[in-house]
Symmetry: C2
Subunit: 482 residues, 2 copies
Amino acid sequence: MSKDKAFVTEITPQGEDFSRWYIDVIKKAELMDYSPVRGCIVFRPEGYELWENIQRDLDRRFKETGHRNAYFPLLIPESFFQKEKEHVEGFNPELPMVTEAGGEVLEERLAVRPTSETMFGHMYAKWINSYRDLPLLINQWANVIRWEKRTLPFMRTSEFLWQEGHTAHEDEADARKETMQMLDVYTEFVESVLAIPVIKGQKTPSERFAGAVDTYSIEAMMKDGRAVQAGTSHYLGTKFAVAFDIKYLSRENTQEYCHTTSWGVSTRLIGALIMVHGDDRGLVLPPKVAPTQVIMIPIGPPKTRETVIAKTDELYAQLKAAGVRVRVDDRSDVSPGWKFNEYEMRGIPIRLELGPRDLENGVCVLVSRVTGEKKQVPLDNLVAEVQRMLDDVHDEMFARAKTFRDEHFFSVETLDELKAAFEEKRGFALAGWCGSEACESQVKEETGATSRNIPFEPAETKTKCLVCGDAAAHTVVFARAY
Amino acid sequence: MSKDKAFVTEITPQGEDFSRWYIDVIKKAELMDYSPVRGCIVFRPEGYELWENIQRDLDRRFKETGHRNAYFPLLIPESFFQKEKEHVEGFNPELPMVTEAGGEVLEERLAVRPTSETMFGHMYAKWINSYRDLPLLINQWANVIRWEKRTLPFMRTSEFLWQEGHTAHEDEADARKETMQMLDVYTEFVESVLAIPVIKGQKTPSERFAGAVDTYSIEAMMKDGRAVQAGTSHYLGTKFAVAFDIKYLSRENTQEYCHTTSWGVSTRLIGALIMVHGDDRGLVLPPKVAPTQVIMIPIGPPKTRETVIAKTDELYAQLKAAGVRVRVDDRSDVSPGWKFNEYEMRGIPIRLELGPRDLENGVCVLVSRVTGEKKQVPLDNLVAEVQRMLDDVHDEMFARAKTFRDEHFFSVETLDELKAAFEEKRGFALAGWCGSEACESQVKEETGATSRNIPFEPAETKTKCLVCGDAAAHTVVFARAY
């Protein structure tokens, strides 16, 4: 439908400059705007509503798995970060510091939270006395700040929104079970709601969360072949429990340290869904989180306008009552063609066209954003047809993303092969790795790619390290990452 | 039911020390805990869920009135506060300042937001071009910080959670309509959901929001007779539009300043609902926001336990399916009496008792938290009976709060009468006021009471100023306030 060249060319084609395409699309679709504060964006309503829909769905999953929400202070005493050695090393360089308040210099400087393991740790030590208080399963929806040097809207911003789950358990087994459970919750959510296929696996030690014993992640492939860590889940062992003295009276009447976990996803999921699904015409939004799922556009000459609009309103009410997020654009000062382009750019999953001829025949036309397929459907079965097409759009989006990922997933034996592969194509590479940090660093230096994770279910098992040629301890996914 | 004296005496009686009662109750019911940061609390799950329920209901009302949510940066350049003279005077003394980030001293200091008129103003100036962009109706759910000298959990904390609506309009009439509409939304919410009767009115100039032309509030009476401002709505005129250059091309093709509004409620609503409804046995939670609406307690000797618990589970499933927030406490290591006290203290609106005799008779017992009334109801009509009792509890709570307020509302002619009234009783006083700041200040100095608002519908109209005796320009509600 997008014949209006003047319109389309406002968006840089993906093949020409993917980064430009991304910025063009998110600005034009009014998902965000730059703010006057370095690296901080404004989440405009169209962008924020994506986050609200993500939140609603995830929040339900957290509650179904026994978690409750709470809210902990934004400001954290600087000394808290000193208590866990690795944690302070990881986060200190990024902390914004409140040094004055109410016109006075503070005795102890307060960090704006970059993550809340320390504050949760401090409070958990007060609340947990015996095994009866365990497991303690709390999640927090919050803003956090990490003073990033290079930022990219949604993907990496100084302030971002996220959820952080923090749990305390009696023993390692229970904490590890939680860690994996939440990784599974994220996987299920990202695949079945955002239509993004992910690779589940364990991070290598150099990519671990600062202070974790083990970090697990789900990794997604963007359309430029780069990786996005879409969610992480950490088993923290007793490290934070020792640092903050989170002890409990065990069933055997002894004092023991808790085993803790933390896990989070952030507004970078918005960036991911845009980069996975978007095309040269603009956004393609997953139906399950799209603020508007169906845009209704009445068409035809002025003399039939009233009748068509009356019917449109009636169908709108039907769809809305069925829980479909639907909008009508019945403006007469812009052409249907302009509207078609506009809502394609905005990524609305289904366009519904209704004209006087359709009305006579008791039908309307549904157009899928992802395939462009047009389908004439009977009006008396509209709700079911729309719901079916929303499901189809989701399935098609997932299938396309998976096909793209499979086509950009290559297997290499040596560093030279990896370099050659990254030179001629974009994507993820599966390779063997001996487990040494030196070999991992060399890959990064020479290719810019980092180890994304050690997948739980690699397509094949590698036997030799791509760098040193020694026996491979792990099969690793390497990619350039956001 | 609360015969267990050892238990009850853990809560200071309201009549003995209301402030102590308040702290005892919110700590014991695990609504909050103190944090290591001055004046900041942790919202524990039982407290935070009250906020989640408040949010859900208000958010629906905001969306139904055409608003959308967005998210604006936490940190605001210090210079923004200088742009509106009254605004800076009002907020500067309370601003926490980020002066370093990422290990470097910032060129411009960044304030942690106390409210976001300035940041919205800056962005609105970019987004608004013509009358077609108006009205612009955006709300934000966020954390804010005001470095308060004296704090009280929920009521006045350094960091709190709130929503702030910010809207821009073509003219004064439309902006004033919005200001009043949102005051009405708050009134309807606080009365019909939190069961708190409020007095709607306009703030005197000295109590206006810093930078507003007019501020309106709803005021509620706590059980110690003090007032809580439960919500405010401001007509900002063109003050912020001039400060931030929010202009639009009018229908007449001229450049005009927008008229803006802002309005907000915060987590102090949690404090208000506790202080309005609580009693010497603990919390009394309004059914519409109570995290748990019904607590089910199976009772009877061990040999019938299995049968009773099986039936309890069945009824639990029925209630849950009907949307009732219900929990079961089937622990056998604590007595039913202990549980009765515990859940009364926690303010759960309905207790459901089910024993073997009840089961034989096909009934159970519902106990209202607010009246203590016990009602035997048939099990085959349980859902309807529970829903009816939840409505009754709400109505009873509202009626009691209103009766209390009416009984503590007195009418005075002079400052001496006001002083005498405040000495012998607690409550609100209606009095005439000439409109001078001097007279208003004198009331505050001599009684500690401030003007709460000029009610839209005063019970009577006063003709003389309580201080100077001149003709009254307004009839004002005076009270000591949180």
